[in-house]
C-alpha cells in the first residue's frame, strides 16, 4: 500500500515541480506548486507526520500559494515569459549542470551508504509510538527543548510583518525616484498627480 501511495505522490510532486519551472505563465506555476505541496503532504501522512501534513496543506497550499496568486493578480504580471532564450550567456547550461549535480551527488552519497543513510538520534521522542500522537510529541519538544528558538521565531515573524509593511507602503515620493517612469495619463491617484506636478515645477525651476 505504501509503495503505491509513494509512487503516486512522487509522480504528483515531480510533475508539479516541473510545472512550476516550465510554465510560461506565473499563474500556472502557482497552481503547479499547489500540486507539489499536496504531494508532499501526502508523503508526510505516509510517514506518520499527520500534523505536519495538515500544516503543509493549510499554510502552504492555503496561505502561501494564495498569497502568490494574490500578488500576481494585484500587479497584473500574469504575462507569459519567453523561456526559449536566456539573456545571460551560459546561465541556462550552467544551471542545468548544477541542477544535475545537485541531484546526482546526494544520491551518489546515499548509494555509498548502501541506501541506508543514518545519523545520530536526539532521543527527543518516538515517532512510531502510537500512544503519543505526533502533535503532542512536536508540542512537547517545541515548548521544552526548542522554547528559546520558538520565541525567536516569533520575533522573526514580527520583524517580517513590519518589514513587509514598510516595503509595500506606497511612498509619496515614489514617482520622483523613478526617472524613466512615464507619466500615466490614466492615473487618478492624487499622489501621482501631486508627484507629476512636483516634477513639472522642478523642470520649470531648472
Amino acid at each position: 500500500m505504501e509503495t503505491f501511495v509513494f509512487f503516486v505522490a512522487a509522480a504528483i510532486c515531480l510533475a508539479g515541480a516541473l510545472g512550476v519551472v516550465l510554465s510560461k505563465n506565473p499563474v500556472h506555476s502557482a497552481l503547479s506548486l499547489v500540486g507539489t505541496l499536496f504531494g508532499v503532504a501526502v508523503l508526510f501522512v505516509a510517514q506518520n507526520a499527520n500534523f505536519l501534513a495538515a500544516v503543509q496543506v493549510i499554510i502552504y497550499a492555503g496561505a502561501i500559494v494564495v498569497l502568490f496568486l494574490f500578488v500576481i493578480m494585484l500587479l497584473g504580471v500574469d504575462r507569459a515569459e519567453n523561456l526559449s532564450v536566456d539573456p545571460l550567456v551560459g546561465q541556462r547550461a550552467a544551471a542545468i549542470v548544477a541542477g544535475v549535480a545537485i541531484f546526482a551527488l546526494p544520491v551518489a552519497a546515499l548509494a555509498t551508504t548502501g541506501w541506508d543513510a543514518t545519523g545520530a538520534i536526539a532521543n527527543l521522542g518516538s515517532v512510531s509510538d502510537s500512544a503519543v500522537p505526533d502533535v503532542e510529541g512536536i508540542g512537547r519538544v517545541l515548548f521544552t527543548r526548542y522554547i528559546f528558538a520558538l520565541e525567536i521565531t516569533s520575533i522573526l515573524l514580527a520583524i517580517a510583518v513590519v518589514g513587509a509593511v514598510m516595503l509595500a507602503k506606497k511612498s509619496p515620493k515614489a514617482a520622483d525616484m523613478i526617472v524613466d517612469l512615464p507619466a500615466r495619463p490614466t492615473s487618478t491617484d492624487a499622489d501621482a498627480d501631486a508627484a507629476s506636478a512636483d516634477a513639472t515645477s522642478e523642470e520649470g525651476t531648472a
Binding site: L88, Q91, A94, A95, A98, A109
Partner: protein, 674 residues
C-alpha cells in the same frame, strides 16, 4: 613636608602661567599678562630656592634623588617615567634659569609695551621656561628631549614673533631646520642608549655607563655631541644663532644667550660618565670644536655693525669656551662659565634692547654714539657687562674664563693659545661696541617737530642742524669710505625723539644683572680649594670625571695675570682705534659677512646640494612612489578585474551559490568514498 618635595612646582608654575595665558591672555591684556607670567617665574624661582635650601640640608652623598610623578610610557619591558632628577647640577641650572628668567620677564613687561601681541609673547615665554625646566629636570633622556624640542619650538615661535616680516619669519625657519640636524643626533643617542642599556633614565644610564663597551659609549657620546652642537650653536651648525636675533631682544637674552643655547653644555655635563667611557678622541674633538668656534665667531664679531649681531657672535664664541672646557674635562668651569655668561650676556642683551628701545628701533651701531648721557643707567650696567665679558678682574667673566684657560693650559697649550687669542678679540670687539654706542660723538640727529613729548620739543632746531653737520664729517672719518656702505652716509639718521632712558621695569633687571655680573665670580674663586664653592657643590654629579690638574700656584697666578693683561690690551686697542682714532678701523667685508659661511652654504645648497635633492626627489618619485603606486595600481587592476564578477544579475549570484554547493557536495562525497 620636606622642601625638596616642592620640586614639581618649579616647572608647574610656568606651565600654569602658560595655560592661564592661553585661556585668558587676551582678557588680561597689557600689562596684566606680563605681570602674571613674571609672577609665575618668580614663584618658580622661589620653589627652586626652596629645593636648593632643602638640598643643602642633606649630606653630600644624598643630594641626588628622583621624584617620579607618574608612569609615562610603558612599552613592553621598558618603563619610561615622568619624573624629576634633582641633583646639584639640575638645581644649579634651575636657579639661574628661573632667576635670570624672572628678571627678563620683568624686563619684557617694559620692552613689549604697546605690542599688539603682548599677551602672546608672555605665553611663549612661560612655555619656554616650562620646556627649559623640563629639559633640565627631566629624569630621563626622553623627557630631556621633550624639553629640548619644546625650547626649540618656542625659540622658533619667538624668533619669528613678528612673523609679518618675511626676514624674521625665515630666520625662525632657519633656526628650526638647523636644529633638526642636531635633534637627529640626540634621537639616535636615545635609541642607542635604549638598545645598549635597556633604559634611558639618568639613574640607570649614569650608573650603568661603566658597563658600556667603548664603541657604544663613543657612539652615544658622539651623537649627543651632535645634538649639543645644534642646540648650542657650535661650528658648523652655528648659523642659526646670529639670525635668531631677529626676535625681540628679551628673547635673545633669555633663549639665545642665557638658557637654551647652554643646554648642549648641560647635556654633555649630565652624561659625563658616558663621555668618560668613550674613546679618547671624543674629548679632544669637543675641545677643538669649541676652541675653533670661539675663535671663528670672535673674528666675525669684530666687524659687525648691528648691535645685536655682535652679541650673537659673542654668544657663539662664549659657548665655544664652554665646549672647550667640557672637552678638557673641566665640567665645573664649563658650568661656572655658563652661569656667569648667563648673567653678563643677558645683561648685555637687555642693555642693547634698552638702547634699541631708547633709539626707537635703531640697531646700527654706526648711527649711535654718546648715548651715556641720554641713558645713564643702561650705560653703567652695560659697562659692567662689558668688563665682565672682556675678562677684567674682579668681574665674574674673568674668573670663569680664567678657569677654563687654566684647564686648557694643563691639557694642551695650543688650546690655551687659541682661547687666549679669542679672549683678546673678545675684549676688543666688546670695547668697540661700548665705545661706538655709549662714547664718542652722536651720529644721529633729532627732529623735534615730529615729536609729541613736551620736554624734547624744547630741543633747539639750530642744535639739531649742527649735530647733523658734525655727524656727516665724523662719520666720514670713522668709516672707510671705499666700501659698499658708502650710500649710508647720504642717509642721515633722523630720530623723531631724543634717545631716552627706559622705564624702571627695564632698568631694574639691568641693575640686578649688573650686580650679579659683578660678583658672580665669587661662587668659584681661584687659588685655594676652600673657595671652590661650585666645585664642591657639583662634586656628587661629576665625581672623578672632573679633570684634576696639577699646576703650580705660580703658574696659575701667571696665567691669570696674562689673561687680565690680554683683556686690558684688547680694550686699549679698541680705545686707540675708536676713541682716539689713532688708526682707521680694520673691518674687512669678509668678516662682516661671517667669513661668507652663510653664502657658501647657500651656493652649495643652491648648486650641487640642490642637484642632490633633485636626484633624491626623482628617486623618491620613481622608485619609492613607484613601488607604492605600483601596489596601488595592482590592487586597483585586480579589483577592476574582480569587479566583473559583480554583474548585478541576481541569478548569476545564485549560480555562484549553486556552484559552491556542488563543490561542497563533491568534496564531502570524495571524503566519504576516497
Amino acid at each position: 613636608m620636606e622642601l625638596l618635595d616642592l620640586v614639581w612646582l618649579i616647572p608647574a608654575l610656568p606651565l600654569a602661567g602658560f595655560l592661564l595665558l592661553v585661556l585668558g591672555g587676551r582678557l588680561l591684556g597689557e600689562p596684566g599678562a606680563g605681570w602674571l607670567a613674571t609672577a609665575m617665574m618668580a614663584g618658580s624661582f622661589g620653589a627652586t630656592v626652596a629645593v636648593f635650601v632643602g638640598l643643602l640640608d642633606r649630606p653630600e652623598e644624598e643630594r641626588v634623588f628622583g621624584q617620579t610623578l607618574f608612569e609615562w610610557m610603558p612599552i613592553g619591558g621598558w618603563d619610561i617615567d615622568f619624573g624629576f632628577y634633582v641633583d646639584p647640577l639640575s638645581v644649579a641650572m634651575c636657579l639661574f634659569i628661573t632667576g635670570v628668567g624672572t628678571l627678563i620677564h620683568l624686563y619684557s613687561v617694559g620692552y613689549m609695551h604697546g605690542d599688539a601681541d603682548f599677551s602672546k609673547f608672555f605665553l611663549y615665554l612661560n612655555l619656554f621656561a616650562f620646556s627649559m625646566l623640563m629639559l633640565v629636570l627631566g629624569d630621563n633622556l626622553l623627557l630631556t628631549f621633550l624639553g629640548w624640542e619644546g625650547v626649540g619650538a618656542c625659540s622658533y615661535f619667538l624668533i619669528s614673533f613678528w612673523f609679518t616680516d618675511p626676514e624674521k619669519a625665515s630666520a625662525g625657519k632657519k633656526a628650526f631646520v638647523t636644529n633638526r640636524i642636531g635633534d637627529w643626533g640626540f634621537m639616535v643617542a636615545i635609541f642607542a642608549c635604549l638598545a645598549a642599556l635597556g633604559s634611558i633614565s639618568y639613574d640607570e644610564i649614569l650608573s650603568g655607563a661603566g658597563s658600556l663597551s667603548g664603541t657604544t659609549a663613543t657612539l652615544i657620546a658622539a651623537c649627543l655631541f651632535v645634538g649639543a652642537i645644534g642646540k648650542s650653536a657650535q661650528f658648523p651648525l652655528y648659523v642659526w644663532l646670529p639670525d635668531a636675533m631677529a626676535g625681540p631682544t628679551p628673547v635673545s637674552a633669555l633663549i639665545h644667550a642665557a638658557t637654551m643655547v647652554t643646554s648642549g653644555v648641560y647635556l654633555l655635563t649630565r652624561v659625563n660618565p658616558i663621555i668618560a667611557e668613550a674613546d679618547t678622541w671624543i674629548q679632544p674633538t669637543i675641545a677643538w670644536v669649541g676652541a675653533g668656534t670661539a675663535l671663528f665667531a670672535a673674528t666675525i664679531a669684530v666687524s659687525q655693525k648691528d648691535i645685536k649681531k655682535v652679541l650673537a657672535y659673542s654668544t657663539v664664541s662664549q659657548l665655544g669656551y664652554m665646549f672647550l672646557a667640557v672637552g678638557v674635562g673641566a665640567y665645573v668651569p664649563a658650568v661656572f662659565h655658563m652661569i656667569t655668561h648667563a648673567f653678563f650676556k643677558a645683561l648685555l642683551f637687555l642693555g642693547s634692547g634698552s638702547v634699541i628701545h631708547g633709539m626707537h628701533e635703531e640697531q646700527d651701531m654706526t648711527r649711535m654714539g654718546g648715548l651715556r648721557k641720554y641713558m645713564p643707567i643702561t650705560a653703567a650696567t652695560f659697562i659692567v657687562g662689558w668688563l665682565a665679558i672682556a675678562g677684567v678682574p674682579p668681574f665674574s667673566g674673568f674668573f670663569s674664563k680664567d678657569e677654563i684657560l687654566l684647564y686648557a693650559w694643563a691639557e694642551n697649550p695650543a688650546l690655551w693659545a687659541v682661547g687666549l687669542v679669542t679672549a683678546l678679540l673678545t675684549a676688543f670687539y666688546m670695547s668697540r661696541q661700548v665705545f661706538l654706542v655709549f662714547f664718542g660723538e652722536e651720529r644721529f640727529t633729532v627732529d623735534a617737530d615730529h615729536d609729541d613729548h613736551a620736554e624734547v620739543a624744547a630741543v633747539d632746531e639750530g642744535d639739531a642742524d649742527t649735530a647733523l653737520d658734525t655727524e656727516g664729517s665724523e662719520a666720514e672719518a670713522l668709516e672707510h669710505p671705499d666700501t659698499a656702505d658708502a650710500p649710508q652716509h647720504d642717509d642721515v639718521h633722523v630720530l623723531h625723539a631724543e634717545p631716552h632712558e627706559s622705564p624702571w621695569t627695564m632698568t631694574l633687571p639691568l641693575v640686578a644683572l649688573a650686580g650679579l655680573a659683578m660678583v658672580g665670580g665669587a661662587i668659584q674663586l681661584p687659588f685655594t680649594s676652600d673657595l671652590h664653592f661650585l666645585e664642591d657643590w657639583l662634586h656628587p654629579v661629576l665625581g672623578d670625571n672632573e679633570a684634576h690638574i696639577d699646576v703650580a700656584t705660580g703658574t696659575k697666578v701667571g696665567l691669570a695675570v696674562v689673561a687680565a693683561l690680554i683683556a686690558l690690551t684688547g680694550i686699549a686697542i679698541a680705545w686707540a682705534i675708536y676713541v682716539r682714532k689713532l688708526r682707521r678701523p680694520v673691518e674687512p667685508a669678509i668678516l662682516e659677512e661671517g667669513w661668507r659661511y652663510d653664502r657658501a652654504i647657500t651656493s652649495f645648497m643652491g648648486g650641487p646640494g640642490r642637484a642632490g635633492f633633485e636626484a633624491a626627489s626623482t628617486f623618491d618619485r620613481t622608485v619609492v612612489d613607484g613601488a607604492v603606486n605600483g601596489v596601488g595600481a595592482l590592487v586597483r587592476r585586480s579589483g577592476g578585474g574582480l569587479r566583473g564578477l559583480q554583474s548585478g544579475f541576481v541569478r548569476n549570484y545564485a549560480l555562484g551559490i549553486a556552484g559552491g554547493a556542488v563543490l561542497l557536495l563533491a568534496y564531502f562525497l570524495a571524503q566519504v568514498t576516497l
